[in-house]
């Protein structure tokens, strides 16, 4: 069974380490915040100018001056800090953010990522994505392995306009966890019940399979906080 979006987020949450500063992109990455493991403290960075992002506010407690990078109303946690946009990208550029999680339309076996523009469609802009991918120490991409037509999104070379080059370290898709190596996508884990053959068939880029590939394990009830 392919993973749900929530399970992709849950699997990525296991990559978090205590003390990490983390930037979560819009979409599946945002859901990672719901699965932060017990005993792991991370600080969420929102590039519009906040460290220490908390959950959504309770109804009636929304504050128009307090939003995240997706323009959603949010809250802060104790120990949070506000800052301006130049400083925010200063901390990103200087490599202070330990982990960036973002979505992608395509990823290449070299670690290139395309996630901002589809030729012929209205272009909304790259927002902070190009800055994040150009500077982040560790980038994990959360994505579907194939597009709705069934075509692979993990490719030898990206066809869409790039957001960044040779920057992605790991991909967590609905089918697999893969690490980007000099030789291509190295398969680390597969979704429960998904065969290596299926992953191979749906991976257009070079896939490296070494030894037994374990299935991802999910607790019966997620540690949903």
């Amino acid at each position: 069974m392919a993973l749900t979006k929530e399970q992709i987020a849950q699997r990525i949450a296991r990559e978090l380490k205590d003390g990490y500063y983390v930037n979560l992109g819009i979409g599946i990455p945002t859901l990672v915040a719901n699965y932060i493991p017990e005993g792991i403290n991370v600080v969420l960075q929102s590039e519009n100018g906040l460290l220490g992002m908390g959950p959504f506010p309770f109804e009636g407690e929304e504050d128009p001056d307090l939003i995240n990078a997706g323009k959603q109303t949010i809250t802060t946690i104790p120990g949070s800090a506000f800052f301006d946009s130049a400083l925010s990208f200063g901390m990103i550029r200087a490599g202070k953010v330990d982990l960036t999680v973002l979505g992608a339309m395509e990823v290449s076996e070299k670690g290139d990522i395309a996630n901002w523009k589809i030729p012929g469609k209205m272009v909304k802009g790259m927002g902070g994505a190009m800055d994040l991918v150009a500077s982040a120490k560790n980038i994990i991409v959360a994505m579907m392995h194939t597009n709705p037509k069934g075509e692979s999104k993990v490719l030898p070379v990206c066809g869409l306009p790039l957001t960044g080059v040779r920057c992605v370290k790991k991909v967590v898709s609905d089918l697999a966890v893969m690490e980007i190596t000099d030789d291509g996508f190295r398969l680390l884990e597969r979704a429960p019940g998904v065969s290596v053959e299926e992953i191979r068939a749906k991976t257009a880029g070079r896939l490296i399979v070494e030894g037994e590939i374990p299935e991802m394990q999910f607790p019966a009830s997620g540690t949903n906080r």
């Binding site: 109804e59 128009p64 301006d84 990208f89 802009g125 790259m126 902070g128 800055d131 790039l162 960044g164």
Partner: protein, 232 residues
């Protein structure tokens, strides 16, 4: 020296057709809504607007777009605006999309008196087309120039008659960076207080950067994505 003006109309009265404006805000958060309303009323045209976003159809910079007052937008993300899309596709509006950090840092460079910066954002992408690159310690960087803006228009929470500004929460965003970067900086504040009322240690933008200040008449502070959780 008197920096205090009475109204938004007075504050923007010498903005001319064709001027380059920086407008603070992220989404609809921390935007100078009173000055935008005054510009709509003044009918100033052919504006170039440097702003992270372009508002929504009926609020923020979207109002300037609706009245066809904008010639060019320089932004990082413009997705929430149907009128914007229409004008872009029909060729009425020119748009330059640049990475958000590059946008902020090009404002910063202007405010810090530096002509240009080097950034890795956009290396190897179409953003790098035609730009000078340089390798530092084995990594490629793009040369990006400081913006030149005739006016920076910002919104702060509190300000004093000396032009000192304090912002609130994430409504800070581009405001302090742009406040430093305009040839003339106009600040609209929710509360204007006499000099000496604000703690000098708490000032985000020192008054030297601010040429005009006024207390905004109305702050609608519209929320773009109201997101809540249920109480148990």
């Amino acid at each position: 020296m008197n920096k205090v003006v009475r109204t938004a109309t007075e504050a923007v009265s010498d903005i001319k057709d064709g001027d380059v404006l920086m407008l603070g805000g992220f989404g609809l958060c921390g935007i100078p809504e009173n000055c935008i309303a005054a510009l709509v009323k003044a009918g100033t045209k052919q504006l170039t607007c440097i702003s992270n976003n372009a508002g929504v159809d009926d609020f923020g910079i979207g109002l300037l777009l609706k009245h066809k007052q904008v010639r060019k937008m320089i932004s990082s993300y413009v997705g929430e605006n149907a009128e914007f899309e229409r004008q872009l596709l029909s060729g009425e509006l020119e748009v330059e999309l640049i990475p958000q950090g590059t946008l902020a840092t090009r404002c910063m460079a202007a405010g810090y008196g530096m002509p240009a910066i080097f950034t890795p954002a956009g290396v190897g992408t179409e953003v790098a087309a035609g730009k000078e690159t340089r390798n530092f310690n084995g990594k490629e960087y793009l040369l990006e120039y400081a913006f030149e803006a005739d006016f920076a228009i910002v919104k702060a929470w509190k300000g004093d008659t000396e032009g000192n500004l304090i912002y609130k929460e994430t409504a800070r965003n581009f405001n302090p960076t742009m406040a430093m970067a305009g040839k003339i900086t106009i600040a609209e504040v929710e509360e204007l207080v006499p000099a000496g009322s604000l703690d000098p240690d708490a000032i985000h933008t020192p008054g030297i950067f601010v040429h005009r200040i006024f207390q905004g008449e109305v702050f609608e502070k519209r929320i773009e994505q109201r997101t809540v959780r249920k109480k148990n």
